[in-house]
């Protein structure tokens, strides 16, 4: 009945099979293969080099947690840098924070932006907002050379296993980010699957610890990525997330589907076996 099957690997011995209605788009950009697949239970999915980048069903969890955790930890975030994030979901969430002044977004692949605007318009449209300034260039080189500073840097990249993103999970890149942060600045990044790719997550965590005084792991379930809560990193010079320095701005007309101030705190609580490894 639904002959298309999309398969993604959790580990070499575990795969998830999704029934799909079909492939809406398939192209090869200068950087990657870009597909849009219509699945039954996850809705439309953006697939980059065969890996699910986002789905209509659960992208809100990923984008809200990547954005609101650092922004509501900061007393007064004005200037935001988004690394990657060509689909526009991260910018959409940042724009909910009315106090921000401007967003600089550095995306290497213009075709991801075009595909998102066509197939995920509620995400892609954020990139047309007057506060958003998109640069089509390599983020690694960009942060190496910039002289301005940001209150928040959001690393919304593909996974570190993909060659073009490897540089975004390296000590030199993190050092450049640290230099591009204000004194109260915060970097947040997606890190990976803490249960089925523990070694990968540990490696990224240790690189971040080499550079940032404060490094904390936080978790949120993103079923189209993996079977267990997915991990993010919160990094800063001085601010700890539990301080919740911006939480008084939450409420009123601020709309979320996953994030709330209790989730802000609970996301940093690690299971005992992970606490021993990641809170040393």
């Amino acid at each position: 009945m639904f002959p298309h099957i999309f398969r993604y690997e959790i580990s070499p011995h575990i795969s998830v099979y999704l029934e799909c209605k079909g492939v809406l788009h398939s192209s090869q950009s200068r950087f990657q293969k870009i597909e849009v697949v219509e699945s039954l239970d996850f809705g439309r999915m953006l697939v980059l080099d065969g890996v699910i980048n986002l789905t209509e069903r659960d992208e809100f969890v990923y984008h809200e947690m990547l954005v609101h955790v650092p922004l509501f930890s900061h007393p007064d975030p004005l200037k935001i840098l988004i690394v990657g994030g060509g689909d526009g979901g991260t910018a959409r969430e940042v724009l909910k924070h009315e106090e921000i002044d401007r967003i600089r977004q550095v995306e290497i692949d213009r075709e991801v932006i075009a595909v998102s605007k066509k197939y995920f318009p509620s995400l892609g449209i954020a990139l047309d907002h007057p506060k958003v300034n998109v640069l089509l260039t390599d983020a690694i080189q960009y942060v190496r050379e910039i002289e301005e500073t940001f209150d928040i840097i959001l690393v919304d990249s593909t996974d570190p296993v993909i060659e073009q993103s490897e540089g975004l999970f390296s000590v030199p890149f993190y050092r450049d980010c640290l230099n591009a942060l204000t004194e109260q600045g915060i970097l947040a990044a997606q890190v990976g699957d803490i249960s089925f790719e523990t070694n990968l997550v540990s490696a990224v965590f240790n690189k971040l610890k080499e550079v940032f005084p404060v490094v904390r792991i936080y978790l949120a379930p993103i079923p189209s990525y993996t079977l267990v809560p997915y991990s993010f990193a919160f990094c800063s010079k001085t601010i700890h997330p539990e301080m919740g320095l911006g939480l008084s701005r939450f409420g009123g007309s601020f709309q979320t589907r996953y994030y709330n101030p209790q989730i802000h705190q609970a996301a940093f609580v690690l299971p005992e076996h992970l606490r021993k490894e990641f809170e040393k």
Copy 2:
């Protein structure tokens, strides 16, 4: 290379495929088909009527959360009733609480106990402990007729979709449990997949609300069950889990791999879209 595949359904359109080395045991008891399957990434798995009941990889999450959340919410739990739980994992965790006086366990299927003792000895052995008294009978009838009371009732059943467990997710059974609880008594139960079976979880939640003054949902990731954190119910006459009335007993030689006092609190924090539905 590993020709055996074990498949489990997350939804009608999503399945997980596990590579397995083989089937170690297969039998049909009076009540259900019992299999033990050796998988590569989840280790040994107990499979009842085709559904994964526990795996070596993640049973600790399920058993610790079913047991320690209610027990550490109670100021002085002495008498414990376990409904189901023939594998022994729940009893194993209860026995870590040295203050408990005795465990009454009511399991309908003696063959589950025998299979667990053979293939999962570190779980099954708990049932031989002198504090544990196993009754091989129908728990629904048992709670209808008992006159004694318990401090804690743990419903460690198979899913409500399976015919023989349906009665364990019914208002009459919950009323009988309420009557069998002391004034400070707590019932905890596994409820289901809150994201891919929301209607089922809502139905169970509403039945519990008909009976218990306090009903709270809490979450923990059990990847061999589903893609998102799995849900449990905490029910009582007066006690709320956040009070943590027994948490001062945690620490010292009390060993856990998932549970800790911070998890105790964080597990009750629901994402915004679930909070609206389950904290009304």
